[in-house]
Amino acid sequence: MKDVVLAGVEKTYSATSGGSGVPAVRGVDLTIAAGEFFVLLGASGSGKTTLLRCIAGLEAITGGEIRIGAMTVASGNRVVPAVRRNIGMVFQDYAIWPHMTVGENVEFALRHARSGSLRGDAAKKRVLEVLEVVGLEEFVDRGSTYLSGGQQQRVALARAVVAKPDVLLLDEPLSNLDARLRANMRKELRRITSELGVTSIYVTHDQIEALVMADRIAVMRHGEVLQVGTPEEIYRTPADLFVGEFVGEANLVPGRVLSDASSPPECDEDQRFVAVETPYGTMTALAGTGATPGERVRLLIRPESLHVCHDGSAPLAPGWNAVTGLVRGADFAGAHTELTVDVDGVELRAQAHSFDAVSVGSPVTLTVGAQWVIALGDHPTATSPGPAAEEKSLVERPQ
């Protein structure tokens, strides 16, 4: 179990013919604690997989430094080859060797282990041990092509951890599984990694996966890290609009910051609040990046944080915001009903309990605590490389 430190890591692919190179990772600083389950979250093309491959040693960095524990594995002019980094890796397509049995796949890693290769009975014993952890001990002699996706996934994991690596890298390991299996495997993966106590770095584009599994998340875009934090921090107080929209459903209400506002009761004293002028009147919001008086902002409100009152009994506590509108749509989604509410010509999404009888066309009042409304500067983030790339990110954004 070792920590991983990235300092100003750069990766630029050399241009194939003329022109300048393509930067895939730009100046990433991250410190991943020993034993932590760390998630790199981003859309495709955000550089997260490239960054993971740089840590693995499958790609050479073009700037900065990577340390694993006390060992500098890559810095400007020094490179420790992948085979000497003592890292286990699970690939997106599992990369199970089809010409070997399950046992042989796992044993291969043991035979080439950096920590000293095991052979013979000791190796067999260790292979069985690890297969037992992933629940595949009966499959040891099974040809690896005769396995389901989930089973291959477990073999890949067993192979990656059998040699007791310092760091475990996982590259979208669950993206090829169906939804139900994915949910199970999330828990399985977390159980296994914490059982082994290995430092894990997990790449995904699925925000739910990231929120459920991570100790901490780094959200990436265009090769840069936009925000690092616990899942709750990322979800509740995103650093900018991109992160806010990327990690979950969000209503974005346009507005302008009028002035600072006093903290509502029950809120931390050190949080700063602002009064924002919106199409629905003045609302109190938690001040996010770029929310200074006079600036244009957008208020980010998660649909589930809006309380829906359709019988006129809105519990309006001090510091709460309330708007009224007409229900335009009500989509039954099982556990809840997804509402589309028209408030003065602007649509807001909200969730009602599915037992509540909310009918289309009826008036409702939506209320929300000021701490669940985040005011974020409404302009392209300073870090974004330009309008063209902005456009690209819109295309790549899931949903």
């Binding site: 050479a60 990369a95 060797w97 890693a109």
Partner: protein, 598 residues
């Protein structure tokens, strides 16, 4: 990526931390053995050609390149252009190349159209029969046609002599320029068909769809859609086969050389092996350089064209629904008779005449009375006479060694090309590909000069030796083999190797435990094809022949020239059986041993 970059997994760590700017760009992957193979490729291609080029500008008293008192001179080239005896071969070569291409491509386009576009019965059988001779050694085919087209007792001539007014000898002459051109055309058909059929198949689908949608007239569809679509594919086939025809040796050598009909490649050979007098190395040298340029330029063009058109996937990869045109009445019968006639005369008859001649003590037209003279002495000789046995042994050793070496080098080259992707990898791919454009005769002459030079300076004993032959065969086969292994390795997802790297496996053990086992069908295929090719190759073996390295193809050729037709026919049949067997085995490998990749 530069040559100073390689690191191996066994070097102590300190030495891997190179503070050079190159190392910063270099990837951390260890490499070593593959570079050696890459360098070997470059050496194999460059050294013979450099020696050839260099010695072409040198003249010495002995006539040998780099012989005593050699000095710079352009006289070798001057002689090529001023020697009156070379006008004929040059004109012959032009006629031969253009004519054989016309015959070969028109026949294969015709057959491809009938097979792919119409509802002709037995299409698949016809296709297999037309393609089958691809595995027949050309020297053997040449002998068969020599027997069929002999002006006096040739079977085809005797059939024609039934026509009133046609008398012996003739009307066809095996040694004439027309004969060798048409026979070479037949030789081009099987491989051309393999290349043309997918082009016709895909464009015919496009034709049908366009017709349904636009209702354009037949002529408009042809000129606006079909031809432009087929043009790149057909052009690629044309250029590729142009190179094949330009360097063709076996057919002109077997049929034309004795009768004095020379093309460029056989003229080079006869300058080295004149009927009387001493070898004229200088003339052979100058001509070789010219032939090399003649073949390499279109090859380079082809490489660029195909390099761009692995994307031709539009043409080969996509499957259109086949909507065969139903042939009716007379057209159907005419097409069927034409195909059956081709198969009978070009595929079956040559084999039959070989079989017949191998069991007859002397030339005899197949007849009931001749059946009583059937004997198997020739086959008996092949298996008992000691010189034959050593010839067969040499041949098998040549095939096995060349195939093994070439597969190792080709696999490494593919790895460099696909996994390293650097400039050097692409360069090596070009070098490997170029080998197809080096005419066999030219390579033979180059290696001959290499052996003469090294022997006179270092006394290695390369001249006329087996190792020289093996090296030559490796060079000749490198292009094709590298294509096969590259295709095979291209199917293996890179992650499978990366996963092994993450497990701590070094470069060699990744290749050995993961990549090679997974691409074993491709390697087996490449091995068997190279083996079969080395067995049937006459060009290189005859140019480099000596008493020490005699192989079956050379033995065949010599027997044929001495008039020992029976033994030549028997040997030829045996060689064909082995070659066809190996090719069929290679096909089995690729079709049945596909591994599903995780």
């Amino acid at each position: 990526m530069v040559l100073s970059g390689p690191r191996t997994g066994t070097v102590p760590r300190q030495r891997q931390l190179k503070p050079s700017p190159e190392a910063r760009r270099a990837r951390s992957r260890s490499v070593s053995g593959a570079w050696i193979a890459g360098i070997i490729t470059v050496i194999l291609v460059c050294v013979p050609l450099i020696v050839l080029l260099w010695s072409s500008f040198s003249v010495s008293k002995t006539g040998l390149p780099f012989g005593a008192g050699s000095h710079f001179s352009l006289s070798n080239y001057k002689r090529v252009f001023t020697d009156g005896k070379l006008v004929r071969p040059i004109v012959n070569t032009v006629v031969f190349v253009v004519g054989s291409l016309a015959v070969g491509l028109l026949i294969s386009i015709g057959i491809a159209t009938l097979i792919e576009r119409t509802s002709l019965p037995l299409r698949n059988v016809v296709f297999a029969l037309v393609v089958a001779p691809v595995a027949m050694p050309q020297v053997v085919a040449g002998i068969a046609w020599g027997l069929l087209l002999d002006p006096r007792i040739g079977l085809i001539n005797q059939m024609l002599q039934v026509i009133p007014g046609v008398h012996s000898p003739g009307p066809l002459n095996a040694g004439s320029l027309a004969s060798i051109t048409v026979v070479e055309g037949f030789m081009l058909v099987p491989f051309s068909l393999l290349l043309v059929a997918p082009v016709v198949r895909s464009t015919s689908g496009a034709l049908e769809e366009a017709a349904v949608v636009t209702g354009a007239g037949r002529r408009a569809r042809m000129t606006k859609i079909v031809l432009p679509l087929m043009a790149p594919g057909l052009l690629a086939v044309l250029v590729y086969q142009f190179v094949t025809a330009a360097q063709a040796f076996d057919i002109p050598a077997v049929l034309g050389l004795e009768k004095g009909t020379k093309v460029f490649s056989t003229a080079i050979y006869s300058a080295l092996n004149p009927a009387v007098g001493v070898p004229d190395y200088g003339l052979a040298n100058g001509m070789s350089v010219l032939l090399l340029v003649f073949a390499l330029i279109p090859m380079y063009w082809y490489y660029r064209m195909v390099g761009r058109s692995e994307r031709f996937a539009v043409i080969t990869g996509k499957s259109y629904r086949r909507r065969p045109v139903a042939l009716r009445g007379a057209a159907k019968w005419a097409a069927f008779v034409a195909l059956a006639g081709y198969v009978f005369f070009v595929v079956i008859l040559p084999l039959f005449i070989l079989l017949w001649m191998s069991v007859q003590p002397f030339y005899a037209t197949p007849s009931i009375s001749a059946l009583s003279r059937i004997e198997f002495d020739a086959y008996h000789r092949v298996f008992t006479v000691s010189s034959f046995i050593s010839t067969v042994r040499n041949t098998l050793i040549l095939g096995a060694l060349a195939a093994t070496f070439v597969c190792v080098i080709a696999t490494m080259n593919s790895w460099l090309l696909l996994r390293r992707r650097g400039f050097f990898g692409r360069l090596i791919d070009v070098f490997a590909f170029i080998t197809h454009g080096i005419p066999g005769v030219v390579l033979g002459v180059s290696l001959l000069f290499v052996s003469l030079t090294t022997d006179s300076h270092f006394h290695l004993g390369l001249y006329g030796s087996m190792p020289l032959l093996v090296i030559g065969m490796v060079i000749v086969c490198l292009g094709l083999t590298t294509r096969i292994t590259t295709a095979g390795m291209g199917q293996i997802h890179r992650n499978l190797e990366d996963a092994a790297e993450m497990c701590g496996a070094g470069w060699l053990s990744r290749l050995r435990s993961i990549t090679v086992p997974l691409m074993s069908p491709a390697i087996a295929n490449a091995w068997v094809l190279t083996f079969a090719y080395a067995l049937s190759n006459l060009t290189l073996t005859v140019v480099l022949a000596s008493s020490k390295n005699r192989v079956v193809a050379v033995e065949l050729y010599t027997r044929w020239n001495f008039g020992d037709v029976q033994t030549a026919a028997a040997l030829g049949l045996l060689l064909t059986v082995v070659s066809v067997g190996a090719t069929v085995a290679a096909r089995r490998f690729t079709s049945h041993k596909e591994i599903r990749h995780g």
